[in-house]
């Protein structure tokens, strides 16, 4: 019985830990800024850092879903996409970064899947994807808001439906943190 329990725990860990299945979202904002002055946006040029990853940057499915999700969410918040970069109040760009990270069974412990000696120190590496969304004041060229969403990439990058789902959730949660001046 103990063996079966151990096996079940290992199987559960493999599932939970397969790519860190939680979505972490946060942001930084320019304080004391009147966000009601911004009405229109357009996509603008991205700076070099943070570095992107070709698995995402060169993935047309990813880019399509991302741009669509951002435009839809901004429209919901009352922003209009301007015809040209020159006439936009805000310029938006993103960075899609993938970093290798190490975990030592922490997620299993956090979620209560193991708690005593059966929870060995299972060390494994996973790839964490960070989507960074930068919003720049077009006139001052200053970054006024940065949002990010982090999620393991393993099960997401290869599965288009799951990727679209994750992007939608990520963009929605990120932009919920953008001060809606309207």
């Amino acid at each position: 019985m103990r063996l079966l329990r151990q096996f079940a725990l290992v199987a559960l860990s493999a599932l939970t830990l397969s790519g860190c299945a939680t979505l972490n979202v946060s942001s930084h904002v320019q304080r004391g800024l009147d966000f009601t002055q911004y009405r229109t946006f357009d996509w603008g040029p991205a700076d070099a850092l943070p570095a992107g990853d070709p698995r995402l940057d060169k993935n047309p499915g990813f880019l399509d879903h991302l741009e669509g999700a951002v435009e839809k969410e901004l429209a919901v918040k009352g922003f209009e996409r301007s015809g040209t970069q020159e006439s936009a109040d805000l310029l938006i760009h993103y960075h899609a970064n993938i970093s290798r990270r190490i975990d030592v069974n922490q997620l299993d412990r956090d979620y209560g899947y193991c708690y005593d000696e059966t929870c060995g120190a299972l060390v494994f590496e996973y790839e964490a994807g960070t989507l960074v969304l930068d919003i720049v004041d077009a006139k001052t060229n200053r970054l006024i808001w940065r949002g990010w969403a982090q999620h393991g990439v393993r099960d997401v990058v290869d599965n288009e439906r799951r990727m679209a789902d994750t992007i939608n959730k990520a963009v929605k949660r990120m932009l919920a943190r953008f001060p809606n001046g309207l």
Partner: protein
């Protein structure tokens, strides 16, 4: 404070243990022997180099970078240093910030069972290094560094700002006495 060996690091490492289970703060500094800080009272920032910090949330993040610079400027002003915009200052400053993962063995490396459910765990640390370069000789005359665990201090903007404030204060406390 005079150094006994020319050119060697006089590393003052202060290990401050924070809360139980948290990683210590590592502090250190280096002074180039024979540096006369009395003559080096004006400064400006070197052109901001864009090196990756190792964390995409902080790369090219003005909220992070400006807080570091403002805090350093405030601490230096309080110590009588003057930031000058035109002409050549005596000192040029730059800093490096990096984030990495560290492993804490959590007591599992002890020869006896100190605790029944000891577990190793990973945590994120941030390292901030501040350099003072003498513009006349173009050499490093002072460097201070601090490494501490981050917890949620990137995701939470106020927490990040507070941690930057404290870290910069600790860095500049290491300037030679009298400054």
């Amino acid at each position: 404070m005079r150094l006994s060996h020319a050119g060697t690091f006089a590393v003052m490492v202060l290990l401050l243990s924070a809360m139980a289970g948290c990683a210590p703060v590592l502090l250190g500094s280096y002074v180039s022997p024979g540096t006369d800080f009395g003559a080096l009272r004006t400064y400006n920032w070197a052109s901001t180099e864009s090196l990756a910090t190792g964390d995409p949330r902080l790369d090219n993040n003005p909220f992070f970078h400006e807080r570091v610079q403002q805090d350093v400027e405030k601490e230096l002003a309080a110590r009588g240093f003057e930031k000058i915009g035109t002409g050549t200052p005596k000192l040029r400053l730059h800093y490096h910030a990096s984030v990495s993962q560290r492993l804490d063995l959590g007591g599992t490396n002890l020869p006896y069972r100190a605790c029944d459910s000891c577990m190793p765990f990973m945590y994120d640390t941030g390292t901030l290094v501040l350099d003072f370069v003498d513009t006349r000789t173009n050499t490093l005359v002072w460097r201070a560094w601090a490494e501490e665990s981050l917890g949620g201090a990137i995701d939470n903007q106020e927490w990040m700002e507070k941690q930057i404030d404290e870290t910069v204060a600790r860095l500049l406390e290491q300037l030679p006495r009298g400054l």
